[in-house]
Amino acid sequence: MNGLTFDIAHLLAGGLVLVSFMMLYQDRLFALINVFALHAVVLALSVAWQAYVQDAHHLYVTAAIALIFKAIVIPVGLHRIIQRIGIHRDIETAVGIGPTMLAGIGLVALSMVLMLRVTPEADPLAREDLAFALSIILLGLLVMVTRRNAVSQVVGFMSLENGLVLAATGAKGMPLVVEISVAFSILIAFIVIGVFLFRIRERFDSVDVGALDDYRGERR
């Protein structure tokens, strides 16, 4: 592998981490969804680059799935859901933006240290990819943990799944079936969560998951 292909792969994966960071400080729902669409676009680019580098044509299909579903269908769907149910469009955070960003930096450092330690013999490209993928997964979890709003939790979950796809494409020889099934399971999860969102909205006039806790008679 020459230096340029490696650098481009590195750039795209690093860009994905950067976009994950962008998610952390969004405080408007639409902006968050747009950033998520950007996340999916960068993912699609990264997967396509991997397909080119590894000369694995089925990865182009994965890239197309990412682009169509995650960059277009799901963000558009989320936009429409938000418009239909007419909720507040600002996100109530459980932890402030500053501490969240600091925690995100810590998580990225952790995943770098960890991955570089446990995979000394692996292919450098796969190694970098895995380190970035783990950071994206942890950042996605962080988004889910620090937001009270159900839609932002869905977005966090989806970006977490992007990290999984990145890790899977970094490793050579991953069969297409696995990726397709992962993509479809995400789509189904999206549908289920969408229905669920409507149900919460119907009952509580809000998609703040805190309402569920109030309903269960508990303090936050």
């Binding site: 459980a94 998580l107 952790l110 995943s111 240290v113 960890l114 330690r117 446990v118 942890l138 979890l141 962080l142 889910m144 943990v145 009270r148 998951v209 805190g210 569920l212 806790d213 269960r216 508990e218 936050r220």
Partner: protein, 672 residues
Amino acid sequence: MTSIVALLLWGAAAFLGTAMLAVAVSRRGSATHLVYGATLGISAVMFAIATAALTGDPAGVSPVTLPLGLPWIGAHFRLDALSAFFLVVVNLGGTVASLYGLGYGHHEPAPHRVLPFFPAFLAGMNMVVLADDAFTFLLSWEFMSLASWALVMAHHREQDNTRAGYIYLVMASFGTLALLLAFGLLAGPDGTYTFDAMRAAEPSRFAAAAALVLMLLGAGSKAGLVPLHVWLPLAHPAAPSHVSALMSGVMTKVAVYGFLRVVFDLLGEPAWWSGVVVLFLGGLTAVLGILYALMEKDLKRLLAYSTIENIGVIFVSLGLALAFKANAMPSAAALALTAALFHVLNHSFFKSLLFFGAGAVLTATGERNMEKLGGLIHRMPLTSFVFLVGCVSISALPPFNGFVSEWLAFQAILQSPDLPQWGLKVMVPAVGGLLALSAALAAACFVKAFGITFLGRPRSAAVEQAQEVDRYALAAMFTLAALCLLAGILPGLVIDGLSPVTLSLIGSRMPVQMAQPWLSIVPIAESRSSYNGLLVFVFIAISASLAAFVIHRFASHALRRGPAWGCGFPDVTPAAQYTAVSFAQPIRRVFGTFAFRAREKVEMPPPGATAPARLTVEIHDVVWETFYQPITGAVGYATEKLNRLQFLTIRRYLTLVFLYLVTLLLVLALWP
């Protein structure tokens, strides 16, 4: 030609088939006859096969491997002298219990809760004894535990039975965990689970010691070693009486089998201190068990505590055998092991007999509390007679069988001065003293059990209406009583029958006894000691008949019934009789302060007041309070604290998972 093991496995399968059948038919009226008839037939056949295998050449029996269980291991089954002997015990117990059940089962209020599990229980016990790899052993062991648990819970609506079942379940799981760890240690890093491989492997000294301790915990909790006995006096009486007999008389013996199989067979050469540990636990168990029994006024629970005492006696003999084996004294070890196995057989006879008797009393009167019984000898003369035989046997009085095995144990104790280690030299006579004490206390206990239950005047209306039990129950009890007497006057036959077992475990045997003139038994040499049960029996029979003849011939024939001296008290009710508690009072005074922290309090009203004076006795279960209450307290505290985790918000749950993940990753990153 199919091997004997395959035949026995077919028997176990037949038991399981009977259990299935029982599920289907248990609500019909004829189910009791059908199921107990089937188990009676199967147990009798298995008993015959096992006896033939024990007296024949067990080494020639080929093992069987079935493609069951873990896929790369299979299920191994094998029959050797040890398992053949325990099969005899299990199936003889099963046969008489089925015979008893034929009659007793008709009084069962919920037969569909008993019938399916009874054959399954028998199948489980048979399979434990036949198993030849750790996986099959543990699986059968758990099956046996669960089947017996279901039987304990048969009358789950009665007071305290649910608690008994719960404690039994917890203790059984704990015991199986200990066994699992013991086998894991024996299997070594290669994970060879067959007993053959374990026998061939030489465990390190640490592994052998740990395995011994774990076996004491695992098999000991099933057998009822103090302080692991707490479930036994709760669970055994809770089951229907023929099942109580099986659990006390047979299942505890299966636990002894597990201990013997691992410690004597698989572990290789024992260390001398292992004898000390087993001796100490055995002696403690014997004395504490019988002291508990003496304090008890529930008849079946008294019998359960007495089981603990007998397990103690067996473990004392086993500890002696270990000590002698470790010091290369094979003949003495063979003597001690024979004593232990003989007592295993004897206890299965008389404990089953006594539980059957207690069950007969229970069906006739509906009462287990001895303070409400009394005078049953007039209502149930046959039951009283066989119960008396059981009491005499368990009190180790000649010419019955209990005497022979305890006498053999004492003969083995008398060999202890030849032991080289001073620890053992001092320990063994002390344990001998404990054994003698427990034998004497056992006699007192069964004088109480028989006297309060069957003698005196009836203490409640139900007892006055009592009827003799049915023929099947009587047949089962008389069979066992006859076996008690036979084993007592023909001990040589049993000792010679046990010789293949001692040969296979110790490599030595007791001298051939049937060659001795007049059915004497001579454990070591004629010059040291010998016993002749037949002679004692004939002497007792002749002197008793002579006395009876003299009395009837020369004494007055007039029958007089006079009023009993009531200490000047005008209206003597049956409640004013000597009670179980008053019988045990002197013993409680002597031992109670340290064994039970017993305290007596007298409330005397001031002169002139009309209030009655009261004597209250406070008894503590020291073992429960020392070992179990702190554990239950800690578990309760922890659950109360952890209960909060049930009511977190969704985001907090996510946060918990997230933090846990990050912590794990941190550990991975920082681990050197």
